[in-house]
Every structure is written in structure tokens, then in C-alpha cells.
Symmetry: C2
Subunit: 700 residues, 2 copies
């Protein structure tokens, strides 16, 4: 059991601020606890002698007898911190702070929240909230919330950054067959956040599926680490709202949380192995099927239907998903041919036609479920005079159980569906009117199966010259700038990312010597942090023959001075010519996300990134397969792989460059942003031709 086990399964709960005044939150919580909790409830309120029949203590420290596991704090904000300290001093490990008026209300509240966090940390409290609706746990009947509704028992555990959404879900679930194990309203997440709860539920044998509604993730890197472990056993399905620009600013004004970028969330949640959904409907559709059905052994689906049209709609939904239609084995086709009417379509989607009674569904379903090419099935039935949905439901349940293969159903109707739906629901088989939802839900099973079989490799650690890299970064500090350019190319050399021969020199003679070493025509560029668009001022010369290097040096410096008399000139870069024609320009970059840390970006250069916005991101550090996945992600990937008669580039070299950059930015949090543009990829390797980075000197 996790460290929060006593939070969800306490023996004794104290309500600090218990009261019986009508309509108050303190009364609602006390009476909710009294109603269903199978442990002991203690009331604390210095202004009351008894509350709802309970003796009322002045302070939580006064309570005699066995220890209290959870204190629920509902006193006003100005005394809440004192109450938390009292709880800590009394040895209570878990505190649920219902009280609002903290970080969500402006600067005064934010200061109060800092004090609250300090108090909680001083006593090492597991603190939920503040500004929480409370917590619930059905096995003990624990309802430490001020909502109107208690959850029914089930195997879904649910956390929500919106308390109102918890009340909505409970009201909705009361009408359906959706049960819960634990529910927590996260509130402002001063201490406990989503990472703590997924860790707890990951160890909880009674939680089959973890659901979350989140508006931000407090610590992205920690979340990814925890979620990767948890999702090996327990699926996590999340709505992360504030996806769109409009939604993100609404979320910011609602929670006051600093927003990470949507792209970082997208990458981070995917790398973490969570199933991210966009709507409330999907959240619960996926929860139900994950809790009720086994995982499929493949991606191939069989459709069995009594109606051609709905069969086509279902097939379209399969086409939209990552599932594929099973091709049946000859034996299956033979058996179907023998047992189905002549007008039936025995190929997938199997159409057993309109006069099919439940028995024919049974035969067809049994036959296809025995086929090794069938990893899951969907049964799509329209109401007819000869078909009882109730009988059909029983047949589906028994076949699903016998084959232990995931099944979903579409009983396409309304009033005649009722009894059948209940039979299915009790057996954990989800039923929908719309076949698209059945297929999407089965696809979620496939996706989770794929997540579960992921092997998270450790990021490779290359042999690099970390000290040299540190020196180069520190040189910027000495020059009192946060921005570095090609003068820092050695940073890449130090981490084994290939660069063309060359360097930055500070005299015509040095330039000439370097060009002679290179032994061919060179590219020369003025190096100055004050000149951003070097080409525009004539600060770049391409294909300079050795004999013109000396003069070109002088020319470049003059042009720079003419452009800006006091420009800081660090010298001139002399670089081997890179054959751009035989190579493909790519961009490899990084910036830091407030929640997820370093975010790597990869794409093809030029129009691909600028006009077509064709690029992909990953949270660093990345493993080899993460890095390889980035190459697969972009639409323009075929251009790296020999489209239009070109030679394919050296993908392994690209993948290695991504991993090496990942190592660099992970080793040095001081690198705030970095762009290698272009990183030229050829059939023989890669070369970083240009570099820009920004550093945070305080992190050095």
C-alpha cells in the first residue's frame, strides 16, 4: 500500500470546523461523514459543545483515544494554518483543506498558501488542497466532501483539479453504472499533486483505472517518471484542459497556475504512457472499457452485425482508428459458410442479415472469436421482430467470457435496449448507440496494451567532454552576455555532435592559417552578438578561395563597423564548405518548458519548419527509440529517406545527434534555448553548420 493509504482508509477522521449551521460547508462535511463512513468521526470547534450529536472538542489536540488518521479543515482561511499546525502537532498525518482563499485569490492568498505549505512541510503532512471539495473512498464509505452525492463502489479512482467537475461526475454517475474506488478534488495542490495520487493508485490493488481532469501538471518531469511505472500496471486516462490558446488563458485566469506549452504537455503525456482524451465522454468511455474488458492480443477486429448499413458505419470507424479489420482464416470462413444463411456476408464485417435471432449471433460470434486473427470484436445489432436484445446480451456475455477476448456492443436502439444494456453492463461490456464510440473504446484498449508493452530504455550516456562544455558556457559569463552563436560551436564538438572544420579567429593571419589547414575554399562570417542578420549587411562570404581569405577578413570587419560602429566583434568564423546540395537541412533545437523541462524540437529546415510547421517535440532526456520516433513523426520524413530519387541520409547519425543534444541540455540546465540550424544531414552523416543558444548564468 502507498503512503496515502490512511488518507483513503482511515479509522478516525476529525472535522476541524465542524458545525451544525444550516447550509454551511462544515455541516455538509460532518453529516456526509456521519452518513456512510464506517469509522469514527470527531468534531472540533471551540465555539460548539456538540455538533449533529457528536461531542465537540475545542482543539484537535484534546481528542482522547486512538489516533486520528485524517483531519478535514473547514475553518476560515485566517485560522486554517493554525488548524493545520494543530493537526500536525497532534500527530495526524493526513490533512484535507477544504478552506478556500489561498493561491486562487491573488497575492494575499498566494502568501497565505506559502505559509500553509511551510506548515505542512514542517510536519511532513500529506495535505490535500487547499480549496478542495474533499476526498471520497467507497470501501470504507468515506465521504469527506461537501457535495450532495456519495459515489458507489467501483474500481475507478478519479482525481480532479476542478471540484465542480467532481460534483458533476458524481451526479452523472448516480444515473449510470459507474462506480469509484477513490475520488480526490486536488484543489490548489499545495503539497499533494497528481503525481502523488497516480503513485498511490498504482500500488492500490482495488484501483483498475486512474482518471484525471487536470488543468496543469505541477512537476512534469516527476509526473512522467511516475506515470511510466504506474502505467505498466494501471491505465491512466486524462483530460488536460487548456489545450487551445483560448482554453489555456481561461485556465490561467481560473487557477493562477503558470501554463506550460501545449506541445510540451502533448509530448510529455504521451511519453508518460497516459491516454489523453479531449472530452468528458471519452474519459468515461475509456474508463469503462479498461475496467471491464481484458486487453486485446493485437489490433485486428471482427464486426458481427445483422444490418449492412450500420456494418459500413462501423467499418468506417475502424478505418478512422488504429485498428484493422481481421482477415479470417479459411477454417473460420468455412464454418461461417456452413452455419450462416446464403445471403449472409461471411467476410468481415460479417453481416448475418436482418432475420438473425440471438442464436445466429452466438454461432457467428463464437466462430470469429476462435479465429487467431481476431483480437477483439464488436457486435452491432439493429432491432428486429426476431431478435431479443436481452437474449443477444446474454449470448455476447457468455461468448466474451468463454474467449476472454475484448468485446463491445452497439445495440442500436433506445427503448428496447434497456434490459440488454444492463446485462452487458454487469458483465463489464460497454454498449453504445453510436458504433464509432464502440470502436474508439476498443482502440483505447489496444493503445493501452501497446503502452503496457513499452520498454522504456534508459537514455544512452555518450562519452563527452563535460568540463570543456562548462568552460565554453562560462566564457559567456565573462563576456556578460546570455546569447552565444557560432563562437560556441565547440560546445557541440565537446558533446560529439559533428561540426564542419573551422573556428573563430581574430586576425587575418589566423584566418589564413585556418583556411590553409582546411585546405579548400571556405565560408567566412562575421561573429558578433550585436548583428543578428549577418547576410543582410554582407557579413557572410561563401566559397572564399585560400588566397582571398586575408582580404575577406578585413572586408567583413569593415562592413560590420559600417553597419554599427560600436558592435562587439568577436572575430570571424572560418568554416569548411558544406555541400548543401547533397544534404538535407534539418533543425534541431531545444527550449525549456516550465513544467516539463527541456523540450527537443526536430524538423526539416526552411519552408518545412517555417511555412508548413512540420516539426515534432519530445521531453528530454530521450532514449534512442524516442529520438528515432522524432524522425518518424514528421510529414516530410520521406525526404530524409530517399524520396524523389535522392540518396537516403544517414538516419543513425541524426538519431545520435538528437540523443547527444539531449544529454547536453540535460547536463546543463543553464542552457535555456538552443538551435542548431541547419543541421545538415547527408548519406554520410550530419554536420551542425550554425548554432545559437541562450543561457541563464545563474544556473551555471
Amino acid at each position: 500500500m502507498g503512503r496515502l493509504s490512511t488518507l483513503f482508509a482511515p479509522e478516525r477522521v476529525a472535522v476541524i470546523g465542524a458545525t451544525d449551521s444550516e447550509g454551511s460547508v462544515g455541516r455538509a462535511i460532518t453529516s456526509n461523514l456521519l452518513e456512510s463512513f464506517d469509522g469514527d468521526v470527531v468534531a472540533v470547534n471551540p465555539y460548539k459543545d456538540d455538533v449533529l450529536g457528536l461531542r465537540c472538542y475545542d482543539e484537535v489536540g484534546d481528542v482522547e483515544g486512538e489516533g486520528i488518521d485524517v483531519a478535514v479543515v473547514v475553518v476560515p482561511p485566517d485560522v486554517a494554518i493554525e488548524a493545520i499546525r494543530d493537526a500536525g502537532a497532534a500527530g495526524i498525518g493526513n490533512v484535507v483543506v477544504i478552506t478556500a482563499g489561498f493561491g486562487e485569490t491573488g497575492s494575499e492568498g498566494a502568501a497565505r498558501e506559502r505559509d500553509l505549505r511551510e506548515a505542512a512541510e514542517a510536519y511532513d503532512l500529506n495535505l490535500v488542497g487547499p480549496n478542495s471539495l474533499g476526498v471520497m473512498s467507497t470501501p470504507r464509505g468515506l465521504n469527506a466532501t461537501f457535495g450532495n452525492e456519495m459515489a458507489t463502489e467501483g474500481d475507478i479512482s478519479f482525481m480532479s483539479q476542478s471540484g465542480a467537475f467532481v460534483t458533476a461526475v458524481l451526479d452523472w454517475a448516480a444515473e449510470r453504472d459507474v462506480g469509484f474506488k477513490d475520488i480526490v478534488s486536488l484543489g490548489n495542490k499545495a503539497i499533494l499533486d497528481e503525481g502523488d495520487f497516480i503513485a498511490e493508485w498504482g500500488e492500490d490493488p482495488e484501483t483498475e483505472v486512474i482518471l484525471g481532469y487536470l488543468e496543469d501538471i505541477a512537476d512534469g518531469e516527476e509526473f512522467v517518471r511516475t506515470a511510466r511505472e504506474v502505467t505498466q500496471e494501471t491505465p491512466i486516462v486524462l483530460v488536460k484542459s487548456g489545450r487551445t490558446d483560448a482554453g489555456a488563458s481561461a485556465a490561467a485566469s481560473h487557477t493562477g497556475a503558470m501554463a506550460g506549452s501545449e506541445r510540451a504537455y502533448e509530448a510529455g503525456l504521451e511519453q508518460a504512457g497516459t491516454l489523453r482524451v479531449e472530452s468528458v465522454q471519452e474519459l468515461f468511455d475509456f474508463a469503462q472499457i479498461l475496467s471491464g474488458q481484458p486487453l486485446p492480443d493485437g489490433e485486428e477486429i471482427a464486426i458481427v452485425t445483422n444490418a449492412g448499413g450500420p456494418g459500413v458505419m462501423t467499418t468506417d470507424a475502424v478505418g478512422d482508428s488504429d485498428l484493422s479489420l481481421s482477415s479470417f482464416e479459411d477454417e473460420t470462413l468455412g464454418a461461417l459458410r456452413e452455419t450462416m444463411p446464403e445471403e449472409a456476408n461471411i467476410y468481415n464485417p460479417v453481416d448475418i442479415i436482418g432475420d438473425a435471432p440471438a442464436e445466429r449471433f452466438e454461432t457467428a460470434l463464437e466462430t470469429v472469436l476462435e479465429d487467431d486473427n481476431v483480437a477483439m470484436a464488436v457486435v452491432v445489432a439493429c432491432p428486429t421482430a426476431v431478435l431479443s436484445f436481452e437474449e443477444l446480451a446474454e449470448v455476447v456475455v457468455s461468448q466474451q467470457r468463454a474467449h476472454e477476448t475484448p468485446v463491445a456492443t452497439t445495440l442500436m436502439g433506445g427503448k428496447s435496449v434497456g434490459a440488454g444494456r444492463e446485462i452487458l453492463s454487469e458483465a463489464g461490456i460497454p454498449n453504445y448507440f453510436d458504433p464509432a464510440r464502440a470502436v474508439e473504446s476498443l482502440d483505447a484498449l489496444r493503445e493501452y496494451d501497446e503502452i503496457q508493452s513499452r520498454e522504456y530504455e534508459e537514455p544512452a550516456t555518450f562519452d563527452v567532454d563535460r568540463e570543456r562544455a562548462r568552460e565554453i558556457l562560462e566564457s559567456a559569463t565573462r563576456r556578460d552576455t546570455n546569447r552565444l552563436g557560432v563562437e560556441a560551436m565547440e560546445l557541440l564538438d565537446a558533446y560529439g555532435i559533428p561540426t564542419p572544420a573551422g573556428g573563430v579567429v581574430s586576425s587575418p593571419t589566423e584566418a589564413e592559417e585556418l583556411a590553409e589547414d582546411i585546405g579548400d575554399d571556405v565560408v567566412m562570417k562575421i561573429v558578433s552578438p550585436d548583428i543578428l542578420h549577418k547576410s543582410d549587411i554582407g557579413g557572410v562570404e561563401v566559397g572564399v578561395p585560400p588566397e582571398e581569405v586575408r582580404d575577406t577578413y578585413e572586408d567583413l570587419v569593415v562592413r560590420a563597423r559600417n553597419y554599427q560602429r560600436d558592435a562587439a566583434i568577436l572575430g570571424v568564423q572560418v568554416q569548411e564548405m558544406v555541400d548543401l546540395d547533397s544534404g538535407t537541412e534539418t533543425i534541431l533545437g531545444m527550449n525549456r518548458d516550465p513544467q516539463f523541462g527541456p523540450l527537443l524540437l526536430f524538423g526539416l529546415g526552411g519552408i518545412f519548419v517555417e511555412v508548413l510547421e512540420d516539426n515534432t517535440v519530445r521531453v528530454a532526456p530521450v532514449s534512442e527509440s524516442d529520438a528515432r520516433g522524432m524522425l518518424d513523426d514528421i510529414e516530410s520524413a520521406p525526404l530524409l529517406r530517399g524520396a524523389r530519387g535522392r540518396d537516403p541520409v544517414d538516419e543513425d547519425a541524426l538519431v545520435e545527434a538528437v540523443q547527444r543534444l539531449s544529454q547536453l541540455v540535460t547536463d546543463f540546465p543553464a542552457i535555456v534555448e538552443l538551435d542548431i540550424n541547419p543541421l545538415v544531414a547527408t548519406p554520410d552523416g550530419v554536420q551542425a553548420v550554425d548554432l545559437r543558444l541562450t543561457i541563464d548564468q545563474e544556473e551555471l
Copy 2:
């Protein structure tokens, strides 16, 4: 009223094949008719004296009294055609053929269906089916189907190519508040098809929304024409299944219909002004809001909620849609500031916080609906102790009515929603648990409003040399080939699509003369239908100076002969050099779709079409704005418009070229396929550099 008015509102209906044998289709139809139809039912069956209390006639011609408006045919397939002839001979105008065993069952059935069509055409019958579930119309209580369920009255008319789907929808609708005007099961569409029914319902004042489930469209061009007119008054919402490759082959095996391409359907249905949806859920979500709410006067939406989190989810849904969040006027903000609690968020999404009773919702909703920047509103409410969903529903209804502004609601709950939902539903205000559905439905209103305000311009008719074009096409006939290349460039000249100076010559001397006329270096290419990849065999020379033209001619011919001794050589193309560097290569093409006819394709050349698949299609003929829309559609459009420091190309010239090609392929159905690749666009115009086309000689 349309020509099908007596089909849906008959006085007298005959059932040919009426019977009382238990479980038969003939009995089901007769008893369904007897149950609710307010007209007269006549039974026809030579083997019966009476059926379900009706006197039974031997033949429909024997029936005395007033004329029969509709004959429903349920006799076996081998006698069905005779029954149809009898009906025609008796002067019956409408026939509904329930009988199956026609085109859906193989070659014998297909032949039978041809006979049926002939019989129907001989009597000019409005024939539904065969293989139809039947028709319904609620105002007269007409239930001429063999389903179990009669629709309740409403303003939605619904056609379905799947009879089973009709039964599913009726069963589902019986549980909800969804009513219908007319329903038709299209069956095999031997005579009447989707185009006829949309035309009928377009003229029917009792039909507010037309819904359809289609697997194919019989005549795409006719459908587009009709739908454009109908959708000026009445929205059409369609599921067209077989969207995906898998779905299309399932549909083909189900209906035996020849599939048009999905891209043609996509373009055609969009150009027709229909709202195409992908799921059954959307079909009815859109139907309900279109039938219940007025159209918005803009795309700006206000969100009013008592819960921050669900407010953020709703804002995300707005971000996903084509709607935008209203920016409130100062007056609105002032009024909200005055009337809402201090903790409320008065900016959109308006969060009137958790302690809001219905009255506060009323004040907030009234205030925002009076704002000119608010074209529609969504109310999102979570259950709380102080809020009655019933009261809230009443408030929303009265505000919606007072402002005549479209409103949808998300009462986020289950068991406490019931009464509120009913009040809303009676007032035509849709309610959903998931805010995304509310926003998507409001977005459908916006989309239909935009469709309604479309002005379908006539395609421009340019002054072209049609006779010359015909001669060029006919020259292919003389050469006994279906494929033409650059030798047909004059076809483009004849239709005013600019081509570089030049032509195809058949001797070195002619080549030299032509090059002299051009007066500059030229491009020379061998012209042979037998040599597809000219560059590979050295069949193309670029930048040939005038003095080398003669020798180059000889070289090209020798290389062609070396490659293939008996290749048909039509000559050598001598063409002005086109400066590809200053231009952008585009592709303009056409192929013919079996349902929609000529389909124009436009995209950028090279990797854009081949690797990135970035292109767009329209059904021809296109208007100027259609053509301009093609330029807007592609992702790489910025490259035409001056991205990365290039001069923008002459868009008007491109738009005109698209229209001129549209005119060419519309004028000549013999052109089966055509590709101008590249069509080079520059700041000064366009030039068609290369051409391939395939013709169908029988169409000439």
C-alpha cells in the same frame, strides 16, 4: 408542394400482397397502416378474401371508388414487376417496393431491377425501393413500413439507404424527444433517390431539417445542383458512409453500388452546401439544434458558468471549433461588475462562481445576450446546493426567447438534470453532459448560417476557341491513341491557358526556324507516346542555343531510336525557356469521378504533391470563388504568397487558369484525365509547361 406530396400525404393506400399470416412483412405493413393512418387502406391479394378485417381485392385494378395514391408492393420478387405494372395501369402515381431480391443480390437480381425500372418509367411512377423498409409521414399517421415503431410528429425529415438504420433510429427516438415529419427507406433507389427527396423536402414547409444516411449518391452533379437550392432554405445533414477505404469496400459489397472517390464526395457535398457529419451522434445533435434554435448573427460565443474547470473545457471546445470567444463591450463588463460577486470572472468565459442561484445565471445571461458581440451562448452548470436545474432551465428558456439568440446548455449531471432537460427540450434548447457537444452543435448553426448566405456564382464563361480544341482532340483519334502529351499544348492555347512560345516540329529545319522565332536559348524534348520518361533516355535538352538546335534535333531522334527502334516519334518540342527559379511549380489536373463528374485538382508541384500530399479538389465547373478557394486550401499556400522573402505570384492568373481548365473539361466529356505539370506561377502570370491527357474517343 413537390411532386411527391401524395406519396407522403395520400388519401388512400393499397397494400399489394396484404396478408394476415403471422410474422409476415405483408401483415406487418397492413397492420401498421391500419393502426395510425387517417386515410383509407385497401388490401390486394388474389389468395385472400379478407385481411385483418379488410375486404381483399384480387388486383389493384379492381378497387372501386376514389383513386389510390400509393401502392405498397410486398409480393415476391418474381411477381413484383407485374404488380408494379398493375399499379401503373390503375393510375397509381406512387409505388413503394418493399420486396427484396433485386440489384442487391447478384446478376439475376440486377436484371430484374432493370425490368422494374423500365416498368416504372413506362408509367412515370414515383417508385421507392425496391428493398425498402417503407415510408412514414407523421401528419397523416402514415406508417407504410414493416418496422415495429411509428415516429412521433416533428419537423425533421429523414432518408436512409439502410432500412435497419431506420428501425434503430425509431427505437432510439422513441426514448427521446426526437420527432419526424417524413421518413423514407431508400432501398436500391431504382427510381427515386436522395436528390428527389431533398427536392421534395426543400419545398415542404413542415420540414425544418433534412437528415440522410447515404452509402452512395446516385447522380452527384444533379445532387449538387438540387442541394444548393434546397440548403438556401432547409439544412441538409448527412452521414455518407464508406468514407474510409475499409468502409468503402464494405459498402460496395453491401449495396453493389459503384463507389465514387471519397475525395469527390468530400468536395461535392461541401460544394452542395450540406453539413456532412461522421457519426450518428452528430447527425442527431445537429438536427436537434438546427430544428430548435435560430441561426446566429456571427461566430462569437459567450460562455456563462458556475464552475471554472468546466468553463475551461468549454473554452477548449471553442478553440477546436470555428467559433471564437466574444470580447464583451465595456457596457457589458460594467454591468457584470456591478451585478456579479467580486470573485466572479466577468470576462468570457464568465464564471459566476459556485454559489450562483438561477437568478444570477439569469442576470449574467441577460447581460451578455444584450451585447452586440455575442452571437450565441452556452450555459454550463454544475450541480450545487443552491442551484435548481429546473429553475435554471426556465431562466435559460426565457432569456433565449427574449433575445432570439441561439443557446445550448450543459447541465453537467445525471439524476438531477431530468426535469431541467425536459423544459429545455420543449423549448428546442439542446442540453448535453459534455460541453464539447454543445459547442460543436452551436458551430453547426454557424456553418449552416454561412452556407445559407453563400451566393453561388455562375462559373465564368471565357471566350475560347472550342472548335480548335475539338480538332486537336480528334487528331488523337486519327492517330489511334488515347493518350496525348505536349503535342496537344495548343489545346491549352485554345482555352486561353498560357503556354510558353514554341511547338512540335518534325524536321531540323523547322526546329531551327522555330528557335529563331523564339529568339533565345530553348528547351527541346522528344515527343513520343512510347517514351514516358524522356529525361532518363536523354530525350530532353535544356538551354539549347540557336546554333545548336539543328544538331540537337538529330541527337534527340537518334537517342529515341536507340532506346526503342520502333517508337512512334511525333517530332521534337521546341519551347521557350521558362525561368523556374523565379516561379513556383504548381500542378493543375482533372480526373472524372463516376458520381460527380470532372474533379479538378490543384497543388504545388514536386514534393508538395508527391511527398506531402498537399493538394485540393473541387467538382467542376467551378466559379471564380471556388477556384480562389482552392488556393486557400493548400498548406503550402504561403509559398505562393511571398513566404520567405519571395515575390508573391500572380494569384489572379492562377485562379483564371483553374476556371479555364474547368471550362475545357466541362465542354469536353471526352477528356477523361488531364494533368498540367508543371503550371509555373510567377509574379507576372502562369505558364503551362507540360501536359498529359487521356481521352475517351467514344465521347468525342
